[in-house]
Amino acid sequence: MKLKFASMALGAVMAAAPAMADLVFPSLSYRTGPYAAGGIPFADGYADYFTLLNERDGGIGGVPIRMIECETGYNTAKGVECYESTKGEGALVYQPLSTGITYQLIPKATADDIPIHSMGYGRTSAANGEVFSHVFNYPGNYWDGASGAVNYLLETNGGDLKGKKIALVYHNSAYGKEPIRTLEELQKKHGYELSLLPVDHPGQEQKSQWLQIRRERPDFVLMWGWGVMNQVAVQEAANIRFPMENFIGIWWSGAEHDVLPAGAKANGFKALTFHNVGRDFPIFDDIQKYVVDAGKAAGAGDQVGNVLYNRGMYAAMLAAEAAKTAQGIHGTADITPSQMRDGMEALQIDEAKMTALGMPNFGPAFNVSCQNHGGPGLVGVTQWDAANQTWSLISDFKETDGEVIGALVAEDSAAYAAENNIEAACK
């Protein structure tokens, strides 16, 4: 029986054998499970941008794009299966949209010479390109997020947080634990009080955490949540009448589906971001024309312009620009994963480029280098308007505490380098 299964599975794999001369972008998405609410719009945005490039420009540099979607369900074991099944097809870059899967892929992909782009998630110290040669997390990471949130609070409180209480509600996983160290360092510097409230997977049960918040009355609540955890947290905050304008989510905790269930009570909830929100960009006309109206939109096609859709689109745009850069460097249109890595390392995004792509002021301008895989770490703040059901940018992209973060990145990446005997990669 085992053999029969095996031969059938082999047949199925063979049936999906690759066609030659295309640029393969795997999309390790999750449209099922407790994190699907966030996974679907991101995957749709990622897919639609590549569809747009194929339909409008005939791919990148004349070579068509082939996107392979693989369902991970936010599960690491399935993530491994997806990685192994797609890497043989010439996958150029992996964007797993899961910190757990990213951790797992970092050593594997590095050994296989395939780059990973964990945009705003994954292992923060991967910003150090000397150690993590194949991992990129530009334009911002969790520690920038933590510092950005604290900076925003400083700014709105006259530059002083002494004696204020900040509570961090976080997903009890590698993802949620990332900001803790930064917040603790910043605590020493700014003198606020930090309390930590972990929420276990998947996050539907948060009564006790919010009871504690009600009792301790922190001045501000930060949240590192994802999936169903976000909407539950917003609802619970509304239930204990916590002032929404003092409740700030990381960029993974601030999309439409997170706040809509709480209705008008969610008004004023804030979230960090590293890219712009809304549909006010010329690119959406093209997406409407070439993708949605042509019936080629991914998924149900109802996510266009959502926060996470925009993020997926932004991720695809950065990948496509890196591929273009790689084509330029190596003088070939049909690039390999290794050449793609060079392209990512030489990526330059400026305002003129984004305007030409129909995305003016969509994200920060930045340059990637061999040493710095993390980008500038500029963080903005958005706020939810429940009456109009829109997110709007209320604080522009600003610098974060590079001194504190830089030291932490150096420390954590040095520990990784020591564990794995990695020599500095840059010349």
């Binding site: 029986m1 085992k2 299964f5 095996a6 059938m8 599975a9 047949g11 199925a12 794999v13 049936a15 999906a16 998405s29 449209r31 099922t32 699907a36 679907i40 979607e69 693989c70 369902e71 369900g73 599960n75 690491t76 074991a77 491994v80 299966e81 192994e84 099944s85 890497k87 043989g88 910190t99 757990g100 951790y103 797992q104 050593p107 594997k108 590095t110 050994a111 296989d112 292992r123 009890n172 996983s173 590698a174 993802y175 634990k177 990332e178 803790i180 160290r181 972990p198 276990d200 997977h201 998924g299 954590d412 520990a415 564990e419 794995n420």
Partner: protein, 358 residues
Amino acid sequence: MFYREAGDFKTNYADDNQTFPIRFDRYRYYAVMLFAFCAVPFLINDYWVNAIFLPFLIYAIAAIGLNILVGYCGQVSLGTGGFMAVGAYACYKLMTSFPEINIFIHVLLAGGVTALVGVLFGLPSLRIKGFYLAVATLAAQFFLVWLFNRVPWFYNYSASGQISAPERTVFGIAVTGPNTTAWAPYLFCLVILTLLAIVARNLTRGMQGRKWMAIRDMDIAAEIIGVNPLKAKLSAFAVSSFFIGVAGALFFSVYLGAVEVGEAFGINQSFLVLFMIIIGGLGSIFGSFAGAAFLVLMPVLLKNVLVGGLGWPTDIAAHLEFLIVGALIIVFLIAEPHGLAQLWRVAKEKLRLWPFPH
């Protein structure tokens, strides 16, 4: 025609008591072993190893372990995920504390640590039975996961709470870490599985296994005929946890390479292994293999057929996968409540007589 006993004479007790008394069956077993050890390593690539063979081999170890406890000794356990986590974290601590010692020994030691923890959580089984015991082991599941999340010593104070396996070698060939060649981790797991399966088979058909089965069938009667329930139950917990701990250690170090305790060793894992032995067949070593194969291979096969073969959207395929696997489980349990192992037994009985059933 097949499975013929005619002419297969046994002249001593050892022959009569062997695992595969029928000659055809025995040769089939040798052929499978030969194929698994000598042919498969040359045929597989990364995908086959990481998506199919490693999960199958490792879950088979866990399923054998749980089968000893649930199938042979009748003590229901929902703590498998937690015990696998103990194995994984023990292996991680050993690997990082004593890097010069062979990984093979670490894996076995991790099993030993899990056995101790298993005995500890098995103590309530002396007082409570059935569903109540299941709830007690469920507590172990939640407690252990909480513990590994809570105490930074277990994950060497890393910022994210993740543990990742450094590269370790056996005879100079890497079996953990990213730079492995496909066959090395496969053979490593296969050797351990083979050893443990032989141990399990011989334990369960010997005196110890009979004690366990006596406890399972009726504990008061067993006590009257001289089986010590304390020793029998705790030894079942120890042996079962040893197997599960080894599976957890391999799951972390060889298969995934980096794990997060809540995600990799959550309650889902406990249910998955329990389903494996229920579908495969309680109280059967072969059933553990069959159940593991069914629940590991079925989703991968369905995914490849639906997405790769038919080109369906991934979300519909993923949902259908749940439906189909769920429906198959129900069908199997209605058609054959004793699992795949019983189907196999019936098939063998039929084959013995075939083609002249009367």
